[in-house]
Amino acid sequence: MPKKQPKRNIMHTKWFKTLSAGLWLDNPIFCMVLGICSALAITNKVANALAMGAGVTFCLIFSSLFISLLRNLIPPRVRILTYMVVIATFVICVDNFLKAFFPPLSEALGPYVGLIITNCIIMGRCEAYAVKNTVFYSVLDALGCGLGYSLVLIFMAIVRESMAFGTILEFRIMPGWWQDWVMMAVAPGAFFLLGVYLWILRTLAKKTEQ
C-alpha cells in the first residue's frame, strides 16, 4: 500500500476514506449484499437490532485486529479456518456477555448470535482487507463496516417495529387508530422492506447491476 496523503483536506486523508467507505459507498449490506441473514431475521425489534449491531461491530473490530497482527504468520492454505477460529472466539465472548447481562435479549436473538461466526461481512473484511493491510487501517475499516451495518439494521428495525407493533423500543408512537401490521414482524415483511431499501438507495447512489 503506497502512503500518499495530501495534507490539508480531511476528506482526502486515507483514514477518513477508509472509515467512511463502509458507511456509505461500500456499505456491507447495500453494496456488497453480505451478511443479510441476521439483518433480516432479527430486525423486528429495535432493541434486537442494537444488540446485534453492537455484537457484530465488536467481533469485526477484534477479528480484524488479530488477523491483521497475524497476517504474516497465517499459511495461505488454512487461512479460512484461521479466520473462523478467531471469529468464533469473539462470538463466544459476545454470546456469554449477553447471556449474563441481558438474558431476555439473548433469548430473543436465539441462534442468531452464534451465526455471527458465519456472517459473511466479518469473513469478507478479514479476507479482503485485514489480511493485507496494517493494524491501524484494518481496525478503521472494521469500525466503518460495523457502523454501516448497524445503521442499516437500526433503520430497518425502526420501520418494522413501528409498523408491526406500533412501538419503538417498547415506547408507543403510533396513534390509537393504528392497526398493527403483523406481516412486517415476520419474514415476508423483512424481504419486501430490504428490497425497497435496496431499490431506493441504489437509485440514489447510481449503483446498478445487470
Binding site: V33, I36, C37, P111, T118, P188
Partner: protein
C-alpha cells in the same frame, strides 16, 4: 409420528430459508442459473446431514460430560470445515466426474450460515439422535427446494420482464423471496412444531 411432523415442518412450515431467513448469501448469488442451483442444493443436503450427524455425538457425548459446552461454537465450526474438506478430497479421489458438478460448491458451503444454524437449532431444541437426522435432512431439503424455485423463477424472469434499473440483481431477488415466503406461510396450518 413425531418424526414425520419434524420432517414436514422443517421442509414447509418452518422452511429454513424463507421462515428463518438463513443461508441468504448463496441464495442470492447462486440462484441465477437453474442447473447451478440444483447442484448447490444437492451439495448442501449432503454436507448439512453429514455435519449435523457428526456434531450430535460430539456435543452430547464429549462436550457435555466434560463440562465444556461453552466452546461448542468453536467445535461445530471446525467440524463443519473438516467435513467439507474431507468430502472434497473424497470426491476428488474416487468420483472425479462429480468434481466439475459439485466440487466447486463445496468450499462455499463452509461459510453458508444454514449449516451451522441446523447444528445450533439441534442444541437449542434438545433433539435426540434420530430426530436430529430427520431435522437436518428436512431443513436441507427445504433450503434446496427454496433455491431451486428461486432459480427457476429468475430464469423465466430474465427472458421477458422489464425490471427497474435500481431493483435489478439483489433487489428483485428480495421481492421474489418475499412473495415466496408469503406462499410458504400458506402451509402454516398443516403441522405445528412443538
Amino acid at each position: 409420528m413425531e418424526l414425520i411432523t419434524i420432517f414436514i415442518a422443517s421442509i414447509f412450515t418452518h422452511n429454513i430459508a424463507l421462515t428463518y431467513i438463513l443461508g441468504m448469501c448463496p441464495f442470492i448469488v447462486i440462484s441465477r442459473n437453474f442447473n447451478t442451483a440444483v447442484g448447490m442444493g444437492i451439495s448442501v443436503i449432503f454436507v448439512v446431514t453429514l455435519a449435523t450427524v457428526i456434531n450430535w455425538p460430539i456435543y452430547n457425548k464429549i462436550l457435555i460430560p466434560n463440562g465444556s459446552e461453552l466452546i461448542y461454537y468453536l467445535v461445530f465450526i471446525i467440524v463443519i470445515a473438516a467435513t467439507v474438506q474431507l468430502l472434497e478430497m473424497l470426491i476428488e479421489k474416487f468420483f472425479p466426474p462429480l468434481q466439475t458438478s459439485f466440487g466447486i460448491f463445496l468450499p462455499l458451503i463452509t461459510v453458508n450460515c444454514m449449516v451451522l444454524a441446523v447444528s445450533l437449532f439441534m442444541v437449542l431444541r434438545k433433539y435426540g439422535f434420530i430426530e436430529t437426522v430427520v431435522f437436518a435432512l428436512g431443513s436441507s431439503i427445504g433450503w434446496a427446494l427454496a433455491i431451486i424455485i428461486m432459480a427457476a423463477i429468475k430464469q423465466k424472469m430474465m427472458i421477458n420482464s422489464d425490471v427497474p434499473k435500481g431493483l435489478r440483481g439483489a433487489g428483485i431477488t428480495m421481492i421474489i423471496a418475499g412473495l415466496l415466503a408469503f406462499a410458504f406461510m400458506g402451509f402454516a396450518g398443516m403441522v405445528t412444531l412443538q
